[in-house]
Symmetry: C2
């Protein structure tokens, strides 16, 4: 057995049976070994951003890692942004980065680079395998490291000769660490904060965003009068009828500051202390209101859900959660707007959907339109690196073949990782992509004014303009084997969305919306 075979055997024994891949020559022995291990499903992505984003989406749905097979430093770099998003999501990912044979590195061949320096900022786990005999053990360690709570990017660097060398030894899986409950002091302090009479906000994030966590938070809110908010960009948020419904903290600083205004006790459950997304000249970065006390009930590495249940048992033993009732918007009509397209989605969202939302400015009104839709899971842009939605939707669909996946995608973001559509077509995944084409980097138009930059002219504004030339997303989707249509009215969007979600396989709808005013 060679090193590559021991890697695949060890992955499978650890339950890692999906490998998103964009391999090159240095990964050929892993590719060659696939036929000997038919339980490993290899999914080809036509660029590494697709591969890593799909691994993130897969992990958000299954809670377990897929492998992402990448080609040397440039492959890791191409996939880095979506690994950054995965890291911020707390998604377990095993990134296998092929490298030159150990003895070949000294020749400084064209593809030579310092892969460790690229992998380090992912703040996960990095190891270079040195011998075929170690490859299995290194793989087992990588899977365990990826599963370290809350979930990390484990980068295993695999030189060509380690893959093709003889003497590979498969290694039994290392039992993953379970997330711990936070200490009694943290829970007691949070209970104390909730019991006093100060205005209190409970901010949920990461591992608190489970059905059980939301139910516990709702009970706490009913018993104590605390306000509950969810972090701005949760990795996965169960929503819809039958679940508690909470607002997310706003993206814009003044919006978030308004939501937190008056808060004197801030209890964090799996969430970071709130700060603005960017620094702005005229707004504080820290969103904790002046004088408020912050209590960390549970960190992202903790079992924040159990911590919330424990807390609810203390402060709200008699209370039941408040659950959203089914309440869909009525189907709107007329030319598409930033208001009515979200109502179409809310009215027609299929049962048990996964919604990968990278609609950015076009989707600001989405949460209220879908709060009473059938239960669904929302996946958001955790790390702020655009080009995440299409790959995440792809990986989520691989993870949950029986669930409809809806990808709400901004035009600018879509252009980053468009080849994800090809993988969706190849794998015949039930993904309905709605591209909100407002012909602009609308968020930057907004931000230009917000950062206090002086009035600008045509040169500046042209950098946000995606209308010269107009991009035809239906043509590009068709070019990659995804049936596509264009909607300019709410009626058309409704018709096309109904059809797309009722037919098997991927579909793309280009929804022509005006930019947010």
């Amino acid at each position: 057995m060679n090193g590559a075979q021991s890697v695949l055997r060890t992955l499978l024994d650890a339950g890692v049976d999906v490998c998103f891949a964009n391999p090159g020559t240095s990964e050929m022995h892993l590719v060659a070994a696939l036929d000997a291990f038919p339980a490993m499903r290899a999914v080809l992505g036509l660029s590494e951003g697709v591969v890593t984003g799909a691994a993130d989406g897969y992990a958000r749905i299954t809670g377990t890692p897929a492998a992402a097979l990448l080609h040397l430093g440039p492959g890791l770099a191409n996939g880095w942004a979506n690994l950054h998003n995965a890291r911020r999501a707390g998604s377990p990912v095993v990134a296998i980065v092929g490298d030159h044979a150990t003895y070949h590195k000294r020749f400084d061949a064209p593809l030579e680079s310092d892969i460790e320096s690229l992998a380090d900022p992912l703040r996960g786990w990095v190891r270079r395998s040195s011998h075929a005999a170690d490859a299995g053990a290194d793989t087992a360690a990588a899977v365990a490291a990826a599963m370290d709570p809350p979930g990390r990017v484990a980068s295993l660097l695999l030189p060509g000769d380690v893959s093709w060398g003889d003497g590979g030894v498969p290694v039994e899986p290392i039992p993953p660490k379970a997330p711990r409950l936070p200490g009694e002091a943290a829970i007691a302090a949070a209970a104390g904060a909730l019991r006093d009479d100060e205005p209190t906000t409970l901010l949920l994030g990461g591992p608190a965003c489970t059905e059980a966590g939301l139910r516990a938070a709702s009970r706490i809110a009913r018993a104590t009068g605390a306000r509950v908010l969810v972090e701005t960009f949760p990795a996965r948020l169960p929503r819809g009828a039958g679940l508690p419904s909470f607002d997310r903290l706003g993206y814009l600083p003044e919006q978030a500051a308004g939501q937190l205004d008056g808060t004197q006790r801030l209890v964090l459950a799996g969430a970071r202390s709130p700060a603005t997304f960017f620094g702005y000249p005229d707004h504080a970065s820290d969103l904790v209101p002046e004088g408020a006390r912050v209590h960390q009930l549970a960190g992202r590495e903790h079992d924040a859900t159990r911590a919330l249940e424990d807390l609810a048992g203390r402060v709200a033993p008699e209370y039941a959660p408040l659950l959203a009732e089914q309440a869909r918007p009525t189907l709107p009509g007329g030319a598409l707007t930033v208001q009515n397209w979200v109502e179409v989605i809310g009215a027609l969202l299929p049962d048990n959907a996964i919604v990968a939302d990278e609609s950015n400015t076009s989707g600001l009104l989405l949460p209220q339109a879908t709060a009473g839709a059938p239960r669904h899971d929302l996946l958001t842009l955790t790390g702020g690196a655009i080009g995440q939605g299409m790959p995440v939707a792809t990986g989520a669909a691989i993870a949950a073949r029986d669930r409809p996946v809806i990808n709400l995608e901004a035009d600018g973001s879509a252009m980053y990782t468009l080849p994800a559509l090809w993988t969706q077509a190849r794998e015949q995944l039930d993904v309905t992509t709605v591209v909100l084409n407002n012909r602009a980097y609308a968020i930057l138009r907004m931000e230009l004014g917000r950062v206090g930059a002086e009035p600008s002219g045509a040169a500046a504004k042209s950098l946000f303009d995606l209308s010269t030339p107009d991009i035809d997303f239906t043509a590009m989707a068709s070019g990659m084997g995804v049936p596509a249509s264009r909607a300019t009215t709410a009626e058309e969007l409704a018709d096309q969305f109904r059809r797309a979600t009722s037919e098997p396989g991927p579909h793309l709808i280009e929804a022509m919306v005006p930019p947010l005013a």
Copy 2:
């Protein structure tokens, strides 16, 4: 004047008047400043791989840097692969990476990352600007660093508050270092090697690949009987009628080994000592023949052209260079093959073209078909990171508005940075892209056998298959505003290529070729 304005003023004063850009919020003040500095041409790319590859292409043609404006760590990561290619090309590039405001970094906001760790492996120059008052000086230093021979990637990290802060001071350009002549000992040793009776190969690379360098090498070859080869992937190689014509060292190890077989003296002019692209189980990485002596006439940082002229003055004072005569292939007919499509290009290549070649396996026969075509500059995949051709062609066309640019592009590589087409349409660049669609990662099919992997089955082979579904490049090009057509015969390719190169603006031709057998 704020920091951002001082950056733009300093860039312009140093002659940097093109900025390829994909900005975000942290770069808004640079964007806002554009209208005050109309001499700065900002060119929008819809993903960072386009931006950095275009800066590389621009530098290869002008020899001077463009700026590449990128958004934090993920922006740098997305653009990293083409910066890697630029580094291997010796292209001067000023990468301006916006970052969070200095005081905002401690909040670990979603886009926070260790940008230095990403930039370091580019082995160029990295500096973080700390105050608006320093931004101008840091910019001047970045431009000078980029111009350090042979040309480097200079990464200037620019926090938001440094951009918007008052007190920016434009700084006069720092005179760039000129490349030095190598020492007398190196030139004398090379002359000695060329004068003795051993079989000698002169390998040209980087700064030796100029018209003057090629002419000097040809004189040396005629006088001494030395064989001349050009490195496998030169950044820019002048070719065609009226210039000396030399073979490039082969990509495949047995091909390169065959070319060097028997060589006892190897003289390197601006080239690295030859090694295989990848390590292979059954082939030495080092391509220097056993027992051969290697003489480094000039490194990549030297003025290798002048060194060759000096050397020619010593060993070949009486000799004139041998120049290729105009000799185009006759126009072929019939279904497209890997042979006849290159003949079409050779027959119809316009005068003074720039050819960005990322045709990979489909283009193996290109060099002989274009050796006697009108003079042109060939730009190749210097760093081996695919997705370079379309952006490099885009940047080259910005650099040389009066020259036709031909981009020969493999299907697999094209999918990496396809949005470059949109920039070509937006800027109405005279780029003719020929996508060689063989529906496969053909090079990996080849490599699978070559790395000694055991016979593989359908699972392995499916990872090289781009035909399920087929990709329609004409649809995707049209979707980005580039007129497109498909050719299945040599006659169609000839007709379409003629039309594309005679009409202004970008065009794409999808040439359906069989994979290399």
